[in-house]
Amino acid sequence: MKYFLSLCLLGGTIFSLAQDLSNHVPTLSKSVFVIDAASIHEKCQKANLETFEFFKELKENTDKYLTGSGVDNALVPMLVANSHDFGISTSDFSYLFTRDRDSINYTAFIFKISNEEKVNNLIKTMVLDEEGIELGIGEGFEFAYNDKMIIGWNSRMVAFFDYRIPYNYGTWEAVEETTTEDYYENYEDRYEALEKEEKEKKASSILVALEEIFNPNPKHTISENAHFKEVVNKSADIIFFVDGFGNMNVMNDVFGTRGTVDGMLSIFADNYFYCHINMNDNDITAAYTYHVSDVFKDMMMAANKGKFNKNLFKYIDGQNLIGYLGMAVDSEAYYEMVMDMYSKVMSSMPRYGEVVSSGMDIYNILLDEDEVFDFIKGDALFAVTNIKQFDVTYTSYEYDDDFNEHEITKTKQELLPEYVFLASIGNEKLRGKIIELLEKSELLIQKEGYYLVLDPYNSYRKDKENGMLHYVAIENDVLIVTNDVELVSTYRESGLPKNRLMSKERRSHLKKNNYVGYWDSGNTFSKMTDEMKGMGQDFFSIMEEANAVIENATINGLSSEGNLFSADLKLKMKGEEKLAITHLLELAESIYKMQVK
């Protein structure tokens, strides 16, 4: 029997060691980061992380974490990047997650131990000689905490927490207790008793959080979440996961318990979001995926069918392009989707739900959808095409011989972004009416084929064309809003000459995607040199470093597969001789050096 029990114990230990730590992450976590410590550690080693000053500083000051920086913004990067030195297992994933309970809100980082001695040293360094640290023993784990952080550990895993006890936790109990409160001889006694009670309450909240992680109910962990299982099947340096259903809690705060959630459930029931972040050799990528409920899948698909009108591209100057952001959707389908979502959410409001819902229905009946969606086509692009000197007028004062004040308008040159907003529009009749109305309200002044936008604040002035000037034009069924007068005067009809258009690569990016983003770091920083210098030498140095590191950033989207809708962000680094992560660390180093100065 004794041998049998020993075998069971051994078997149990081996089984538990083989288990992934995801079965220690509560299923109701608001968000979860899955960190591939092995991959990140390997990349950091390749980039010679040890040689960076900021890292040396982080490593030498591990004892300050308990009273200093938070878990997620300093401790985790340091531990993960140097996992071997701290005894963190690299053959398992580590997890960073946030959890809001009634009694405690926390961000926790948990990892498996590969070298117990090293981990013990780390904990000792952090806990020893610190004031205000409470120590405790739970069921199968030990812990230490102060006002900001908790550390829990056993021979298998370690958990670091940032925590906060919600201000309203225990409020109702306190109200009830006042009726039966004990009598105290003096204020000091009463204060002491209250303080003791608060301490006990805090200790019990902390223990609840630790228990939830070290001794979880197997059915209530994220490892049982089917969506999560799918997401972690694909490898990445870091995976970010948000279960939409879990976050229905947020709605409880808004609508209270009396809200009827059926409508909302149909929206949120099967929603989840995840992102795979990878630090590759020459770029850093983040692939976002959003899983929508069946109710919204068809609507999303319909809305997502939009394409950019090629006429828009004629008005984007590619010579000094800084960046652009845009979306192309089927406006009618998009509108229906948004209204449906609002209608479901608003109708869940206690007391007013039905009224709001009926109001939205009436609004929909009154809205002439044919007119509106003939007018708004659904594609829009905002581009910053240059950073250059513009004439800017401003108000100044002159004084006569008797020092009486006279207001005058002066002009000066200022380095400003040149922008253009473009959108496809139709319905000539409706747009004519809108323009006429804006002209009557003196918000637009007609020029030769285009309009000047007037600032209402300047309407009292003699010189109404004051300040930075913006222009509006409509040509080839494209609405053009810009501060580049040449675009609306000279190139309005024909579009820009071919040699000034965007590159083939950029045009193809716009043609292939309906959600787009692009930023050219080189063009931005080289144009802003003087301005950056004006912001101080330190700022200038960081920007110079950023300029030397980042080539460009692009957003591509939105592709769909079943209920999944995806987009990706790519940060391309300069120079293939250096790894992307080395570039990033160098940037971090220069920021660190500036702060130390």
């Binding site: 401003y394 108000t395 004062y397 008797d402 600032d455 604040y457 300040g467 301005e531 912001m535 330190d538």
Partner: protein, 224 residues
């Protein structure tokens, strides 16, 4: 620099100008003083020259560590200042005008005597932790002599800023105009110019010169 100038500086500019702007604002103090010591005062902060930058900064929560106050917060502070001044003895007709297009802000009020103006500014600033240390009696008037007093400011606290304060103040101008009912017989500070009708003096200098103590606002005017 007058106390009110300090208030405006703290509540309208602190976050914005410290970070990126240089040569960007004018501050005007205009006083009309009658023989009995009563009069009217106008403080005007003109940020129009930097309006595009301020417009951009106002969209941000903070810039280089300095929180950027929202338009609502600034309006609330100005309104509080107006109420405080309105409640002071010997002060009346307090008006604040805001031009958010040009970023020009103006405070005007009437006073029964410059001593009461000093006291009102002092009491108003006493509520503001950062500004109260700058309080001093900026004006005095007796026996047909008007003095604009000045105590050189300590700029040590600005050395903690990450941006060089000289860059911020470069080109920022201070203009003082003091008008009287009677002609001016003499003035002590040569930097104050006399008007053609001899009833006003005007002082114009950059804040940088003031910081570097190249000029002083101290002046006494003797009236006929």
């Amino acid at each position: 620099m007058s106390s009110t100038c300090k208030i405006l500086k703290f509540y309208l500019l602190l976050a914005a100008i410290t970070a990126v702007l240089s040569g960007c604002f004018d501050f005007v103090e205009e006083i009309k003083l009658h023989d009995n010591g009563s009069g009217a005062v106008k403080y005007k902060l003109n940020l129009s020259k930097s309006k595009t930058k301020i417009g951009g900064i106002m969209l941000m929560d903070s810039i280089r560590g300095f929180p950027v106050p929202s338009k609502e917060k600034i309006q609330k502070k100005l309104s509080e200042m107006k109420s405080l001044l309105n409640g002071q003895e010997g002060i009346s007709n307090v008006k604040i005008t805001e031009n958010w297009s040009e970023y020009i802000f103006q405070l005007t009020m009437d006073f029964e005597h410059v001593n009461k103006l000093n006291l009102a500014l002092k009491k108003t600033l006493a509520k503001e932790e950062k500004a109260k240390k700058y309080v001093y009696d900026a004006y005095s008037y007796s026996e047909s002599k008007f003095s604009r007093n000045y105590i050189a400011q300590d700029y040590n606290e600005f050395s903690q800023w990450k941006t060089d304060v000289s860059t911020v103040l470069e080109g920022a101008n201070l203009i003082l105009i003091h008008r009287f009912d009677e002609p001016i017989v003499s003035k002590e500070n040569a930097k104050y110019m006399l008007s053609k009708n001899s009833k006003s003096v005007m002082f114009r200098a950059s804040f940088l010169d003031l910081k570097e103590k190249k000029v002083t606002l101290q002046n006494t005017v003797s009236l006929k």
